[in-house]
């Protein structure tokens, strides 16, 4: 179709872009774009605060380190990790939608799931080293045996993946994704999830607590699911959210 329009010096175009290199290029772009100095400093400071909290817990009470360590990880999974994922995940595509630069990704022969998956991976890539690794490593201050490392790493990663899916979607869906995300984290997961069994099933936190509880043989409030359910359900939720975000992005009005 294009042959008649091409000038002699113009570049040759394939029948369609190769999705592998396109995905990598978008992932790198989104990673660079979302890592603003302000966001990095704010989240690094929160992660530092978490490390100091672990040190304080270790110094304050040396008894029952596993129980206290699980409490520490649980606290971080309830607050620091979702907030960090929200800050980056909601912005990674949300910023492009807000300033109109999404047009440079959208008006290309590239399926929308590539944009969404690259955004999710960029979010996970930032939050894992910036927040999850310090939190997991800090458990060593509380429980020097290292028995908390695996549950904290697995639970934390599932939380990052699930919240990543939800908050990337939130950024695609809402103009003011940050307050909506905070409402979800603080109000829904913080209070409403404890109100009944149905609400408990609709909170990522419940599943991640189940992973921690199952792997450390401790009982955590709301953590009533098996290890398998604790892992699989949040990942399915993330996948469903990303599928919705892809569909939504394909149909969105682009500035």
């Amino acid at each position: 179709m294009t042959a008649g329009y091409r000038s002699p010096k113009a570049p040759a175009v394939r029948s369609g872009p190769r999705l592998g290199p396109v995905f990598v290029a978008e992932y790198r772009l989104l990673l660079r774009s979302v890592c603003t100095k302000g966001r990095l400093i704010a989240i690094t400071m929160l992660a530092g605060l978490s490390v100091l909290t672990a040190v304080a817990i270790a110094l304050a009470d040396p008894f029952d380190p596993v129980f206290r360590g699980v409490g520490f990880v649980n606290g971080n999974i309830a607050t620091l990790i979702p907030v960090a994922v929200l800050v980056f995940g909601a912005a990674v595509l949300g910023d492009l939608i807000d300033d109109g630069s999404l047009v440079y990704l959208w008006l290309r022969p590239v399926p929308s799931w590539i944009h969404v998956l690259a955004a999710w991976l960029a979010t996970v890539t930032i939050v894992v080293p910036l927040v999850l690794v310090p939190v997991v490593a800090s458990t060593l201050f509380i429980d020097t045996s290292g028995s908390l490392l695996a549950p904290a790493a697995l639970g934390g990663f599932v939380a990052v993946a699930a919240y990543g899916g939800l908050f990337v979607t939130l950024g695609v869906r809402f103009k003011r994704a940050l307050p909506w995300g905070l409402v979800y984290i603080l109000i829904w997961e913080g209070f409403i999830a404890a109100a009944g069994k149905t609400a408990t099933k609709l909170a990522v936190r419940s599943y991640v607590r189940s992973i921690l509880g199952s792997m450390t043989d401790t009982h955590l409030k709301l953590g009533e699911f098996s290890l398998g359910v604790g892992i699989v359900v949040p990942l399915l939720v993330a996948a469903a959210a990303l599928a919705y975000a892809s569909r939504r992005l394909a149909k969105t009005d682009v500035a």
Binding site: T2, Y5, L107, D253
Partner: protein, 318 residues
């Protein structure tokens, strides 16, 4: 709507009764047109619906009613047709973290260009930007950013080029360069649609216009032909001569002449008779005879209101 010139048989861009509204505000109303290769200027005052219409044409926003097609496909549903579209959007924002070269190379990669780096160098050369410049585009002037946007729009050698106010912020030399570039793209068979509210610019793009006013298509075609069709408005013609009164006397009795006015000589220029006529072609045929009868020399016969500015003011004001 005033329509002039036959629609192309195989349209590259087609709008079929397309409408778009935002809440109670009708941004584009029942717009239909077909355009083929060449440069077409989309003209209208600020807020007339030009950008919304361009966004609809590219598939960036769906029409609430009607349909748009590019190269026969719906750009919203058929993502493969997007490989044939190059767009310069109105908004200034680009990917801040990237250099101009990285930005244009990314566009090439996403379009499936075989050698993205080579294509990026080619496109940046077209707009006279240095592909070895390692600065982020955030440090660029508005004019340089516009040229980067044009480069990314052309990097895939698209069949359809959509340009929303592409000359904003450019200096006169760069404006001239890009106008010449767009003209060349049109001559090569691409469909180039350029929106602007600056009439001088539009006149330089060519004579084919789509005039949008208050969301409706007010006219489409060659603006000079559009002017000729405006029968309800007299044509104004200046006749510069050495014998003003005598020529004016002859002209006032010519068929189709509604009024004459004398413009005295000034600043070394001969005086002129300003004539309002309902039939410009007839007047042009009769003016020489009138001058002969008055024993006068005709120095100039020039239309005063068949420029784009005049056509535009008439169309958007009626």
């Amino acid at each position: 709507m005033t329509a002039v010139a036959a629609a192309p048989e195989v349209p590259m861009i087609e709008a079929d009764r397309a409408s778009k509204w935002f809440g109670d505000v009708v941004a584009v109303s029942d717009v239909s047109f077909r355009i083929g290769p060449g440069v077409t200027a989309l003209l209208g005052p600020n807020g007339a619906g030009k950008s919304t219409l361009l966004r609809m044409l590219c598939g960036l926003t769906p029409p609430d009613r009607g349909a748009v097609r590019i190269l026969g496909a719906d750009p919203r549903r058929d993502i493969s047709v997007r490989a044939q579209i190059g767009i310069v959007p109105q908004q200034e924002a680009m990917f801040e973290a990237l250099t101009a070269f990285e930005f244009v190379r990314l566009a090439a990669l996403l379009h499936g260009v075989e050698d993205p780096a080579g294509a990026a160098r080619w496109a940046l050369d077209l707009v006279e930007l240095d592909h070895a410049d390692h600065r982020s585009t955030t440090t660029y002037s508005k004019g340089m950013k516009q040229r980067v946007k044009v480069a990314q729009a052309l990097v895939n050698d698209p069949a359809v080029v959509v340009l929303d106010e592409p000359l904003t912020g450019l200096d006169p030399r760069q404006r001239g360069h890009l106008i010449e570039l767009f003209g060349r793209l049109g001559q090569q068979g691409r469909c180039v649609i350029v929106s602007s509210h600056v009439l001088d610019e539009v006149e330089r793009f060519g004579s084919r216009v789509l005039v949008v006013a208050q969301g409706r298509l007010a006219a489409t075609g060659d603006f000079r032909a559009i002017r000729d069709l405006m029968d309800d408005r007299p044509h104004r013609i200046r006749v510069r001569t050495d014998r003003l009164r005598e020529v004016a006397t002859e002209l006032i009795s010519s068929p189709g002449v509604l009024a004459v006015r004398l413009e005295p000589a000034a600043a070394g220029r001969a005086g002129a008779v300003i004539v309002d006529t309902t039939d410009a072609p007839l007047f042009r045929r009769s003016v020489a005879a009138a001058a002969q009868r008055a024993d006068a020399t005709l120095l100039e016969v020039a239309p005063l209101d068949d420029d784009l500015d005049s056509v535009f003011r008439y169309l958007v004001g009626r």
